[in-house]
């Protein structure tokens, strides 16, 4: 830049800095985003969801079509959904389809309803043959720092051959058993090649590798699964810090 350009730049920067940044702007944005009175819909669509049946995992994929190193399972789980709908009354109507009445707006530990999406799912084998179909609803709750998704899946017996598989803890309430899972997930670029050690971990079901991220990122997922009225229920999140006990307490509130 020449001298004049530098001078103009400096003057504009000074003029910009003279505007004091408003306090609480982020809080105001959050309020508007969750303002249900206006009937506004948060236009967030859940991307492809990939699931490994044997491990009863859920992995919210980072973008588009994402491959998944399925370990011992040779099945692929695909998932399409509606946009995230922030209207709680719509959620109450949608959940009736699942013959459920779990319309919780807020958990006692502070996780608050932020929206839901529903849609269909299909399990396919390695050759793309459909093994089974289901319908599901995903409800997102946030405590300001972490998000957790409560899911109900109907007609998914082919997806979950055993929700107890690889569970690290079990809890019981009445006749219902809750299975807690905690697993490492690694998001990697599509051209990523697993190390021999990683291949062993994937084969043993201790590591899940999701393809499609722009760079390598590791996350630990915490989830709890239970079966009720023929539907599969789960609470799932990444790096939430929630223990099995805490997830069990949340599950009991539903």
């Amino acid at each position: 830049m020449n001298k004049n350009n530098n001078f103009i730049k400096s003057e504009i920067e000074n003029a910009a800095e003279a505007f004091p940044f408003p306090e609480n702007q982020l809080e105001s944005i959050h309020e508007k985003l969750s303002d249900k009175k206006k009937g506004e819909v948060v236009e967030m669509k859940k991307s492809t969801l990939v699931k490994v049946a044997a491990a009863a995992l859920v992995l919210v994929a980072v973008s588009g079509s994402v491959g998944f190193a399925a370990g011992r399972a040779s099945q692929w789980y695909s998932w399409g959904s509606s946009d995230l709908n922030a209207d709680f009354s719509d959620y109450e109507k949608s959940i009736a389809v699942f013959d459920e009445d779990a319309v919780l707006k807020e958990f006692s530990n502070g996780f608050v309803f932020t929206g839901f999406s529903n849609g269909g799912s299909a399990v396919k084998d390695e050759n793309g043959n459909t093994l089974g179909n289901g319908s599901r609803i995903d409800v997102t709750y946030t405590n300001g720092e972490n998000s957790i998704v409560y899911s109900i899946e109907k007609g998914s017996s082919t997806v979950y051959d055993d929700i107890s598989s690889d569970a690290v803890a079990e809890y019981k309430e009445g006749d219902t058993i809750f299975y807690f899972h905690e697993l490492k997930n690694k998001f990697v670029p599509t051209d990523y090649e697993m190390t021999p050690e990683e291949k062993v971990l994937v084969e043993s079901g201790k590591l899940n590798v999701g393809y499609g991220s722009s760079q390598v990122e590791e996350k630990t997922s915490q989830s709890i699964y239970w079966q009720k009225d023929g539907n599969i229920h789960s609470l799932f999140g990444f790096d939430t810090g929630l223990t099995g006990e805490k997830l069990f307490e949340m599950a009991k509130e539903l």
Binding site: N14, A18, V60, V62, L84
Partner: protein, 180 residues
């Protein structure tokens, strides 16, 4: 953390990632909006609308690497929409009062505020597209191609607008009696 990862996380439903990316760009977005409209109240509204629209439409962003031009193109749209609604092509003589705090200050600070106010007036005297180009170029340090993508205008048009705006600004803020 890279923008692309944060965007992917937002797209997959991780609302906390939005707060991180907001922190990264909030001041530039806010002050760009303020420079565009000349006052902090409209600047606050426009920047909030920008963030809300960016969040709600984030799934439409196919390439997470393009988040910055995506964000600024929304800012441009929000600002121009407000200009249309409020006919905010503000002639210099009807400028809203610039933010000056009513607190005792050293003379140098008072002069700096007055200088900033005059520069803001000079920017506002530009046609809105010229104004946007100048702010993107000088304040946000985007190059011609990046501005072209944000403005959805050919690079030649951007250069032309920048040239005209620079000449006009120079004549206003470089003149000898500007600070007198």
């Amino acid at each position: 953390m890279e923008d692309s990862i944060l965007i992917s996380r937002i797209q997959s439903g991780d609302a906390s990632a939005f707060d991180i990316i907001y922190e990264k760009y909030k001041e530039k977005i806010y002050r760009t909006a303020c420079l565009l409209c000349g006052n902090s109240a409209d600047g606050d509204d426009i920047s909030q609308e920008t963030w809300i629209s960016a969040y709600r439409n984030i799934k439409k962003l196919k390439n997470p690497e393009s988040f910055v031009p995506y964000l600024y193109s929304i800012l441009k749209r929000c600002a121009f929409k407000r200009f249309r609604k409020r006919k905010l092509e503000i002639p210099t003589e009807t400028l809203p009062e610039f933010d000056i705090q009513n607190v005792p200050s050293p003379l140098s600070e008072v002069l700096q505020r007055e200088r900033s106010r005059e520069v803001s007036r000079a920017i506002l005297s530009l046609e809105k597209r010229q104004r946007m180009v100048v702010i993107l170029y000088y304040y946000n340090e985007f190059n011609i191609d990046e501005i072209s993508a944000i403005m959805n205008a050919p690079p030649g048009t951007v250069k032309s607008r920048l040239h005209s705006a620079r000449n006009k600004l120079s004549s206003l803020i470089l003149k000898e009696d500007f600070y007198e």
